[in-house]
């Protein structure tokens, strides 16, 4: 019974199912925030996750991976961020309701009252800091820091993984070349984060939890954080085994697992499969469709959007900021687009110019 359940989970899990279902769950969460942040819903999800872990821990392989010292924080992170997302959303929903009713938000209600830092804030800080210290000490007592064999440049462990907080990037490497996944995307993430205050200029929602008034901003942020960052980290940590092959949560990491690598480039798709002619010899001819596609992706949607959905935004931000905003959004969306292209068409590169290490 349990085994067949685990086998079922293993067989249905794949990057595409996990990613898609996460996106669906996310959509549900932001579409029905009120229901999602109700206590029963929260408890139900908590219970579900606990049951999953409970079952999982009976599995030797799952237990090994989850209890690897450096993976423990990620398990904690799931619960912590799950809870705080739920909690923040809950507060936002409460405030939204108050705003609807014309009442001030919880924070606004108290906005003119000031309390003495000593003792009220200081005490909270101290109690929390002490509790935090206790947590750290207990963590240190019960979990030994890992120490493997001495470094050996001639023997690489399989899989070799980056520290867990960079595993999202390592997971992106499946879909993009290092120069994008390892350099371009992180740069865009940092720049994008820095740009948030300059792109979201709506003064509403400052200093209190709210959702309704900031829906697009929060959805984009949460999508980026949960789906494109945390989910990828979880996949990279728990579901990627030797040779960076995908493994179900209860699947043993077999070094010898072989999966077919039948990815093709866009140029091959077009010239060989669809047109039935050979690949052009010149790289710019060969890659012309890909380059055009990428350029079109970067140019056409902003123009269309500026006229339609983002009309107001365009007006509010002006051309420069609008371009930056759209560019950031496009790069962000490029990741799931590339993922789905890969899953649907085995597409390897849109543009493949290995001569210049320039592959997209």
């Amino acid at each position: 019974m349990l085994e067949s359940f685990k086998n079922f989970l293993n067989s249905v899990s794949s990057p595409v199912t996990i990613f898609t279902s996460a996106v669906l769950v996310f959509a549900l969460f932001v579409t029905f925030p009120r229901q999602a942040t109700s206590k029963p819903a929260g408890l139900a999800v908590l219970l579900l996750v606990l049951v999953f872990f409970g079952i999982g821990l009976t599995d030797e392989h799952f237990r090994t991976i989850v209890s690897t010292p450096d993976n423990v924080p990620i398990v904690g992170l799931i619960f912590l961020f799950g809870y705080f997302t739920w909690y923040a959303m809950r507060k936002a929903v409460i405030n939204d309701r108050r705003i609807e009713k014309g009442e001030p938000t919880v924070e606004q209600a108290e906005t003119n009252e000031k309390v003495l830092v000593f003792p009220y804030l200081i005490f909270i800080e101290f109690v929390v800091a002490l509790a935090y210290a206790v947590m750290l000490v207990l963590w240190s007592i019960f979990l030994k820091a890992p120490l493997e064999e001495p470094a050996n440049p001639t023997v690489s462990p399989n899989p070799s993984k980056a520290p867990w907080y960079f595993l999202g990037l390592q997971e992106m490497l499946v879909y993009f070349d290092p120069w994008i996944a390892g350099v371009l995307l992180p740069t865009f993430i940092i720049l994008g984060l820095c740009a948030i205050p300059y792109l979201d200029r709506d003064p509403a929602g400052s200093g209190y939890y709210s959702f309704k008034g900031r829906k697009p901003v929060i959805i984009v942020y949460l999508f980026g954080f949960w789906i494109l960052w945390i989910l990828l980290i979880l996949t990279g940590t728990f579901l990627r085994g030797p040779n960076w092959n995908f493994f179900g949560p209860f699947e043993v990491w077999d070094v010898h697992k072989v999966v077919p690598l039948v990815n093709v480039n866009l140029s091959e798709l077009i010239f060989i499969k669809w047109l039935g002619v050979g690949l052009p010899k010149l790289w710019f001819l060969r890659e012309a469709p890909g380059i055009l596609t990428v350029l079109a992706y970067l140019v056409i949607p902003p123009a269309i959007l500026a006229k339609t959905v983002f009309k107001n935004v365009f007006k509010k931000l002006g051309a420069v900021r609008y371009s930056i905003l759209v560019m950031l959004l496009l790069v962000m969306v490029a990741l799931p687009i590339k993922m789905y292209l890969r899953w649907a068409f085995n597409l390897k590169y849109l543009v493949a110019i290995p001569e210049f290490f320039f592959n997209i």
Partner: protein, 259 residues
């Protein structure tokens, strides 16, 4: 009699020179507690009631700072035992595990580092959800983002120091990406264009990864570089930026709240 001794102490010049004021529940004493204490003085005397609530801030920023302090202390203790050379690094870490008194400092430091990343992410998450990056706090948000990146770099540079397989290969995987930096990495797009008289300027021995590692692969030079980055360079930057961060919180109106 007992009271007298207490009084004798609290009224002595020595005591008064140190504490200056009493410990009573009077408004004045409480305000003085904050104002006359260099540590508490990070805070204003009074804060917005909503901002003081745990439910609002989750104390994530404060905890990030606190765990940073823990890491500084445990890190300094570890520095007494650790030598960043390929001959000794691994042995020193093993010594911490096997027999050095309070070798648990290493656990505290490692788990503290993980905890700090999580708390910093949480802090950013909270700040975003309360819209606290909005004017006038835009720039402090930017500093916060930089601090977040620095936090991860601190952890990343520290990851190499045990010099075991886990460390070396995590750093190898992480730093391999630098190879593909456009123009600056020898396997990055555009690097081939940078040449002078047909001689490649960016190659494995001159690219950005080489600069980071001090070599073509993760070796003795990388260990030393990461050590210095981990113990000196990045913490200094973090401390400086943190000061700015804290100072700006005060200057931007304290813990955020509805306008």
């Amino acid at each position: 009699m007992k009271m007298n001794i207490g009084k004798f102490i609290t009224e002595s010049q020595l005591y008064k020179s140190m504490f200056r004021h009493g410990y009573s529940t009077s408004e004045r004493d409480r305000a003085l507690s904050v104002m006359t204490n260099v540590f508490f003085h990070l805070h204003p005397v009074k804060v917005r009631k909503s901002g003081a609530r745990f439910g609002f801030t989750w104390c994530a920023g404060g905890l990030s700072f606190f765990v940073f302090l823990t890491l500084v202390v445990s890190g300094i203790l570890l520095m007494f035992y650790y030598r960043p050379t390929v001959e000794y690094a691994y042995n020193d870490i093993m010594a911490l595990r096997e027999h050095v008194p309070f070798g648990i400092m290493r656990e505290l430091h490692r788990w503290g580092a993980h905890a700090m990343i999580i708390t910093v992410w949480l802090h950013m998450f909270r700040v975003f959800m309360t819209g606290s990056y909005k004017p006038p706090r835009e720039f402090n948000w930017v500093i916060g983002v930089i601090l977040l990146v620095l936090t991860m770099l601190l952890s990343f540079t520290g990851y190499l120091l045990p010099w075991d397989q886990l460390a070396m290969w995590a750093i190898t995987v992480g730093s391999n990406m630098a190879r593909a930096t456009p123009f600056l990495g020898h396997e990055g797009p555009g690097a081939a264009l940078l040449s002078l008289g047909g001689i490649q300027l960016v190659h494995a021995g001159s690219d950005v990864r080489f600069a980071l590692l001090g070599g073509r692969f993760v070796g003795a030079a990388a260990l030393l570089r990461f050590y210095i980055l981990h113990c000196v360079a990045i913490p200094t930057a973090v401390v400086v930026l943190m000061s700015v961060h804290f100072w700006r919180i005060r200057k931007d109106g304290g813990i955020s709240g509805p306008l």
